[in-house]
Point group: C2
Chain length 300, copies 2
DNA sequence: CGTCGATATACTCAAACCGAGTACAAGAAG
DNA sequence: CTTCTTGTACTCGGTTTGAGTATATCGACG
């Protein structure tokens, strides 16, 4: 069997939510996702990565999931990989941690992920960037009905509904249309802060996966502090999904499923009436995380 | 940065449905999944694998999706990989092809996948294997309430409902309990045909993924011939999910979504009244495959 | 002290969806 | 022409879900 030798590395999309903003851990001024060599001293990829992340962030990783393995030849045009005949493989992981915090070696920094994808935040209003994007895409899709239809669908144009789960496909279309980095040349606009190589695509993959995941699995709780109010929980889900939710319905679905229980204490309140504090029910965890636990992600 | 060198290979779970049975392509008498080295002559992993599969099966691959990257150190105990310091990475893919067909180099054969997971087929009756499995698991979980609860949940014991999506978790529990291969020793029973290394686990990953996928994405059509009757479509979904479905409801959901259209012709009939022939609507494909197309997988 | 602003929490209501069952139509086989 | 098998249409009740409304309880401020 020929070759089959490759450079392998791990790359992590580490997410935390602080002050109602979803954040990603980055290096080098925010244009690189944390990555590391594929070492074999640990029993599995997961456990090795987990240890590495904990050394970097100083916090335990609540949830860790393999995202995707990226290995396209033209991944990173600036860094030709065929020189030695071996290819470059990046195994991407999605990790959720409870708090943003400095510490660690490589001066990691947490950044609001909407800095990289400003068009993905629909919590307060339709992002203005969308209008400009729509215009560019229209020009790009001119004469190609399939492209047009797909652009309308992905970006919620012409009365189509916005679907928050399609973050990756949206980014990919923008990349193809030359709107994601300078590669398009010819004076095209660039939206959102670029990252090195395909790191922004990997981040988009993580966002899309997480947005899909929170609807059916109780992973949000990995991002919450020990005790929290229902509104804080809702704000976290909203931060991740980029949508505003309907408060009564959100609460209904939450307590229909017995995912949380009251701690007995009340929040000291930021403004209005004090809210009950809740905690995630760890006992139920195993069974629930298998079955179809649902978090309502619906417009409000 | 240290090492980061690894042996990389691709491994494929190739699925077809023929005569209402889900089949997997295998080599060497059915105990090996098709695999190949990770070559760099193609633009991407996907396209390289696609070409390779088509040369093997003689049929185009309708759908191809990355499954998971397997790289645990103790993946394959018979084949120690630390000898040369490089680790072994398998990038798994799930592929759907339209017909089973011989041809190709390595004398590939298609096998009913329930041969490897007999307890997963609930179409006609509750598999008898489940009783024996339940008994073994009960013994294995004795004194550990978490294990007990999880076993009940995974295998639908004690009145719990069966959930077809949990195929992977079920296999993993059986593996842990020593019921999946001879490794358990001490005269344990072995259920289903074993495969080399972790190939059976990879197959379980593919089955679970496909079962989850068909509920929300119109990928079943990649397994269907050009034109088909509604019952044939239903039988295919049933074959994959391992469940019987409610006919009227299945039909309702199918044509609510405009996924298919009549060809105008009728089936020459296998028994009763001739059925209308339908075809998948290719025009809608792009948009639909993004949105939440639903195929009803419910008991009948 | 009373009102306002803000948040928390409870309740209502209709549309949509979904599981399950029933009834009838149309060809094949005997 | 009866029976079997498959196809197709319809009904019905329960559950889910999106959306709206009403009330409770705090802090702040005049």
């Amino acid at each position: 069997m020929p070759s089959g030798i490759a450079h392998a590395e791990l790359i992590a999309v580490l997410v935390a939510v602080t002050a109602n903003e979803p954040r990603v851990m980055t290096l080098r001024g925010g244009e690189v996702l944390p990555y590391g060599p594929f070492e074999s001293k640990h029993r599995s990829l997961q456990s090795g990565l987990r240890a590495w992340i904990e050394s970097q962030t100083g916090h335990p990783v609540g949830y860790l999931e393999q995202l995707y393995t990226f290995a396209d030849r033209d991944r990173d045009p600036q860094n030709p990989e065929d020189t030695n005949g071996a290819r470059h493989i990046s195994i991407g992981y999605l990790g959720l941690v409870r708090e943003q915090d400095a510490a660690g070696d490589g001066r990691p920094a947490w950044h609001d992920w909407y800095r990289y994808f400003p068009w993905e935040d629909h919590r307060d209003r339709r992002p203005e960037a969308l209008d400009a994007i729509a215009e560019h895409l229209e020009h790009w899709a001119k004469g190609d009905p399939l492209r047009q239809q797909r652009a309308e669908y992905l970006f919620g144009l012409n009365g189509k509904a916005w679907n928050e789960d399609l973050a990756l496909q949206r980014y990919e279309m923008m990349f193809e249309a030359g709107l994601a980095d300078g590669a398009g040349g010819e004076g095209r606009a660039v939206f959102g802060q670029p990252m090195v190589g395909d790191h922004r695509r990997i981040l988009a993959t993580g966002i899309a996966r997480l947005r899909a995941k929170i609807k059916y699995h109780p992973v949000v709780f990995e991002l919450m502090p020990e005790s929290f109010t229902l509104l804080e929980l809702q704000r976290t889900v909203e931060a991740l999904s980029g949508l505003r939710l309907h408060k009564p319905n959100f609460r209904r679905q939450i307590d229909q499923q017995d995912l949380i229980e009251e701690t007995g204490e009340m929040s000291s309140g930021t403004g209005g009436r004090p809210a009950k504090l809740f905690r995630y029910r760890p006992a139920i965890l195993e069974a629930q995380s298998l079955s179809g636990t649902r978090l309502p992600v619906s417009r409000g």
